[in-house]
Symmetry: C2
Amino acid sequence: MNRITSLFDIQYPIIQAGMVWCSGWKLASAVSNAGGLGIIGAGSMYPDVLRQHIRQCREATSRPFAVNVPLLYPNVEEIMNILVEEQVGIVFTSAGNPATWTSFLKEKGIIVVHVIANTKFALKAESCGVDAVVAEGFEAGGHNGREETTTMCLIPMITAQLQIPVIAAGGIGSGRAMLAAIALGADAVQVGSAFAVAEESSAHVNFKRRIVDAVEGDTKLRMKKLVPVRLLNNPFDDAVAQAEAEGANTERMVQLLGRARAKSGMFEGDMEEGELEIGQVSAMLSDIKPAAVILKEIWEEFMVSRDRIARLEF
Amino acid sequence: MNRITSLFDIQYPIIQAGMVWCSGWKLASAVSNAGGLGIIGAGSMYPDVLRQHIRQCREATSRPFAVNVPLLYPNVEEIMNILVEEQVGIVFTSAGNPATWTSFLKEKGIIVVHVIANTKFALKAESCGVDAVVAEGFEAGGHNGREETTTMCLIPMITAQLQIPVIAAGGIGSGRAMLAAIALGADAVQVGSAFAVAEESSAHVNFKRRIVDAVEGDTKLRMKKLVPVRLLNNPFDDAVAQAEAEGANTERMVQLLGRARAKSGMFEGDMEEGELEIGQVSAMLSDIKPAAVILKEIWEEFMVSRDRIARLEF
């Protein structure tokens, strides 16, 4: 049996990434109903909004779903209490220290998964008692590790050192990439960008169209003097690239970033001045489709690719 | 049958990368004798030195081997004539336009492979008549593509568009990474860093020891204002990082790089001021071993991993 499908009680070892401005209850419930694990991304929600999303997700699916909580979130204590009150069964924590909240959640019987980008934090998360980790490579969208280790290099290192299950993330939007991740030793995959363009994603349609139009080289890891983040090219990204090439310091980068750019770009559709977070795999995406179709296509290609590999003669 | 083992008439679809200061006749012949394809890296050789390496390689192995020629090499015409005179059967070209030399080599009956890092140049190489391409991801050592596309994202895009065989490179130093590359659609793999630390590699022992000591985050893609190159951290790399953070312009970077730093670092063993080119996968390497052992371990892990994947139940 697969350790991740057993842990979450789901059909396929495919997890939809919790993504700011993309993954509300509609996307999470669609993925869970299709047999994967849907995740509500709390990072872009006020606490009362999150509570509504959890309730609506539970109405929309009887299957397990999760909530992702960036631990640097200002209202994190309020969020954690809501997760307990609303009896959320699975919590993914990210962008923070797993020592802070893991035991609190575990004591309430909640399954805890922590997102990491290097072996050091993977081992730390494991020692804090998490049930699994998401290991996220350089090619992933949004915030990212400073080591810049790609999925190809990260997964074998992490799986060689951890006892708990490892969910691979970064660059996985197809069944053959899923097979590659499993070949590298992962137990399951987390898929972000491919679900960001799902019909049920709350991303603005302008953003979804920009993603499916993206080509190679259109995303770059920026803001390395703040927190590294993978951005899709647009005039705002050009300004960031220009400032970085000129050696702009932290203060200037904070000023350039300003406030609420992620919302204006990804949720409100400002393709010029918004901050557009997406993975490298966007260059391979070509359609806006229902989440269930995306999941089914990944799974079927995974199974077909596995058969192909098994039959190869050397 | 595998298209790459057929094309080169070799036993295993494992190619040793042509690497400056590492891959002379000793390494190339050891890899070819072990059933892979050994490559002499002409990039760090004067023409008469290259001729000697070709002759010594032929004495050391009766199996096929290749020569890698960076097309920006100043003596490229002289090199090409030597390859023909010495009846080299397989040539890998890189760092330049495949339109310039492919037909010259093909007319002499030479198999030609071109190294690329994006779909555009892959299609161009195919249209120029090359027999195969090496598709090299962001995690690879040495000079690298501007798109920063990782192996996980690059290989499915390239294989979806090309008819000719694709050799995956970047992040591949183990059998499970090889299986991942094959899962992504590659016909074969090119292995650099893992062979750079082979006993037969001409890299200085100081450099080999530094590679096996490398940890996550120790390599970074630098010199993006010149030609991007993945460097291993040392005082010289720190100086480069500092200059780049300060917004140093092209002229200052050229001055900082100076001359012959790659030779002094990789061949002469200056770990302080030398330029050390190696891949991200160096973080996973732990021993200096004979090339035949490295190849055998990769192949055996590949086969074992393939069996494991085939037996997985979901």
